[in-house]
């Protein structure tokens, strides 16, 4: 065993190379997220308004009390939850349909896929402007459907339009994730189910859905967290008017328009905690279906 040493030497070199290659990415990711989030916890414990920098002071959990007892926060929270639940549910249904179309269509598969990628790729703000002008009385082709009333000035219709814009923009992404799951369903399995006498619906629910479950969960998790961050569409469509602010809008308004770093940071921390809870619940409820959980294998 005299030549045992070079072998572990080799192994050591492999480790070192692995760390060396990962270090820059890991460093950037952690520095730009971990440090600021900790810093924002620190900021959230202070009275810190940039308009009155002299009044900066440590005030413990007072900011949290202020935010959590504020009805604007809870309205925004409700709006965000509503948008999240509705859009993700609709997107799941539509996305599944679109995934089936993209996966199985007999004609023009390339065209459908190309078309579906446009909402995914387009800048959200651009799409939001398109929807805004579409519903603007006088200008828009859709506003005329409603006798020239202004749907973006009323809360219910505004929220509906925001959700429509969200759904239009992100359904293709959902569909692509689901299509990846569809591709995992072996064709033979479907044939076997057919010969066993399963109807098309039964094949879908009993054969395809179980195989696709991990892909569905991943898609749901990602889209839920993403939907919870809704910001761009609301900013352009209503600017948060008529109580259509999401929590992100509210945090932004407190920070940039209100220049209140303390309250803004408090909201940041609260949003972070909420997202963490959602992610945790997902993983707990559905098991560890998160991507990367099986990433241990080599080559």
């Amino acid at each position: 065993m005299s030549r045992r040493a070079p072998l572990s030497e080799n192994k050591k070199a492999e480790r070192k190379l692995g760390w060396l290659l990962c270090a820059p990415a890991a460093l950037v990711m952690v520095l730009v997220t971990a440090y600021p989030i900790i810093y924002s916890v620190w900021l959230s414990l202070q009275r810190f308004d940039l308009r009155f920098p002299d009044e900066r002071k440590f005030i413990g959990l007072d900011n949290y009390v202020t935010v959590l007892s504020n009805e604007f926060w809870w309205t925004a929270f409700g709006v965000t939850m509503l948008i999240t639940v509705v859009t993700v549910a609709v997107e799941l249904a539509l996305g599944m349909g679109l995934a089936l179309v993209m996966h199985r269509t007999l004609v023009g598969r390339g065209i459908v896929r190309t078309a579906a990628l446009i909402p995914y790729g387009i800048v959200t703000v651009v799409a939001a402007f398109s929807w805004r002008y579409a519903w603007t009385p006088g200008t828009g082709y859709l506003a005329n459907l409603f006798d020239g009333s202004a749907p973006l000035t009323e809360r219910a219709s505004s929220l509906a339009i925001i959700m429509l814009a969200e759904i239009w923009k992100t359904t293709p992404f959902m569909a692509l994730l689901l299509m990846a799951g569809l591709a995992l369903v072996p064709e033979d399995l479907l044939k076997a189910a057919s010969t066993d006498g399963a109807t098309a619906w039964q094949r879908f629910t009993k054969v395809m859905l179980p195989v696709m479950k991990p892909a569905i969960l991943v898609a749901l998790l990602f889209r839920t967290l993403d939907a919870f961050r809704v910001f761009d569409n609301i900013f352009v469509l209503t600017n948060g008017g008529n109580e259509t602010s999401s929590v992100s809008m509210l945090a932004y308004n407190n920070l940039i328009r209100g220049l209140n770093l303390g309250i803004g940071s408090t909201m940041s921390v609260l949003i972070f905690i909420t997202v963490a809870i959602i992610a945790f619940v997902f993983v707990k409820l559905f098991g560890t279906a998160a991507p990367g959980s099986d990433d241990g294998e080599r080559r």
Binding site: M1, S2, R3, R4, P6, L7, N10, K11
Partner: protein, 401 residues
């Protein structure tokens, strides 16, 4: 061209597992040697160590008399054919074959000439401008071979080069490989898990198990004189029949009746802790329909009667499966062989595979009188697996002395 010597070569991993242990092997210049064994036996690791793709933990590897332990693959001047063929998908067939020559910085004219030559030998000329993706499996395999032979290396290493081909093509390519090797006369080490390939291709076969060499020799010698239970069971298709045998009153009590023992075996068995239980091994072709045996042969063997379950007529002869009563032979090596063959169910009972003459009128379901040759049987020690009938390198059945 060169000889390859492995001198107590071992491979162990940091976690303590030993993949290859003290392998001693001398491969002569121009020899065609096969490394064979079940998966995980260390044959591929051994090949990779010769190639330089894996470090040697201890021992010495010499190619052409030179120690090459610490040399990079590129400095060993050997070519390798991979199981996956490992053709460069972004290069044409010509570029694939020219790649090693271009790396060796040969001039363009020489490269073209060598590639054309090799392509001609392997009938690849019309395919030279295609990409690997547009080739059939057999064509890819030939390109992989072409890339190996084009630079006339000291040795070829082949890692299961035919295992991705379908059965018919594999048989065909076997002869191509064999002919090519004879023509070029280049030292070749060939890894396979297929014992038929091992038997048909090599000058010598190395049987490995659990990282250690079990036996080295020409195919026929391994077949006729297996050193142990593992080699006996691994070589041959259908494989050797193994039956439980108890030593009683100077005879072997087996499911086929009482088998007499020769003097030498008896002497050995009378030794201090000789086992009372043995394993009797008989190859399928050493059985014959008792009707078809002449008297002279009858005297050299013995007979038994058993029901014929299944008769498979191969044309040239018949494979007949008999059920025999009695205990099954058991040994670690036999279980390992069964696991490797994927036979995790045996169907229960003792099954006997025999190869009888095509003229035998045996019918499925009937009781049949069967003869077997006592001169060709083997006796194994179930604990060590050693072949007790092997005497000075030769076995002579149980009767020999």
């Amino acid at each position: 061209m060169a000889d390859i010597v492995l001198d107590k070569v071992s491979k162990s991993f940091p976690d303590g597992t030993v993949a290859v242990q003290d392998v001693d092997l001398e491969i002569a210049d121009g020899e065609f040697v096969i490394l064979v064994g079940p998966s995980g036996c260390g044959k591929s690791t051994t090949l990779n160590m010769i190639a330089g793709l894996e470090d040697i933990s201890s021992g010495e590897l010499r190619i052409g008399g030179q120690r090459v332990n610490d040399k990079a693959p590129r400095d060993r001047d050997i070519a390798m054919v991979f199981q996956s063929y490992a053709l460069y998908p972004n290069m044409t067939v010509r570029e694939n074959m020219a790649f090693p020559l271009r790396l060796a910085k040969l001039d363009k004219a020489t490269i073209d000439q060598k590639v054309d030559e090799a392509a001609k030998v392997l009938e690849l000329t019309p395919l030279l401008d295609r990409k690997p993706a547009n080739l059939s499996g057999g064509q890819r395999q030939r390109v992989a071979m072409g890339r190996a032979i084009v630079r006339q290396p000291k040795a070829f290493l082949m890692d299961e080069p035919l295992s991705n081909l379908d059965a018919k093509l594999r048989v065909q390519m076997r002869t191509v490989v064999s002919r090519l090797q004879k023509k070029l006369g280049t030292t070749t080490v060939y890894v396979t898990h297929d014992q038929t390939e091992a038997m048909t291709l090599g000058d010598r076969v190395v049987i490995m198990r659990g990282g250690a060499i079990q036996q080295v020799g020409p195919p026929q010698e391994l077949y006729d004189h297996p050193r142990n239970l593992f080699v006996a069971g691994f070589i041959g298709s259908p494989s050797m029949n193994f039956l439980h045998a108890a030593v009683e009153d100077g005879k072997l009590r087996t499911a086929l009746g009482d088998v007499p023992i020769g003097d030498r075996i008896r002497r050995e068995l009378e030794g201090a802790d000789a086992p009372r239980e043995l394993i009797l091994g008989i190859r399928p072709e050493h059985f014959e329909d008792a009707e078809l045996i002449d008297d002279e042969a009858r005297a050299r063997g013995m007979e038994f009667t058993a029901p014929a379950d299944i008769v498979e007529s191969m044309g040239s002869d018949k494979y007949v499966y008999f059920t025999v009563e009695g205990q099954r032979a058991s040994a670690a090596e036999l279980e390992e062989l069964a696991a490797d063959a994927g036979a995790d169910f045996s169907g229960g009972g003792g099954n006997l595979v025999t190869r009888l003459s095509a003229e035998s009128p045996v019918q499925e379901g009937e009781d049949r009188r069967v003869w077997f040759n006592l001169e060709k049987i083997h006796l194994f020690d179930p604990s060590s697996g050693r072949n007790l009938t092997l005497h000075e390198g030769r076995s002579a059945g149980t009767l020999g002395d």
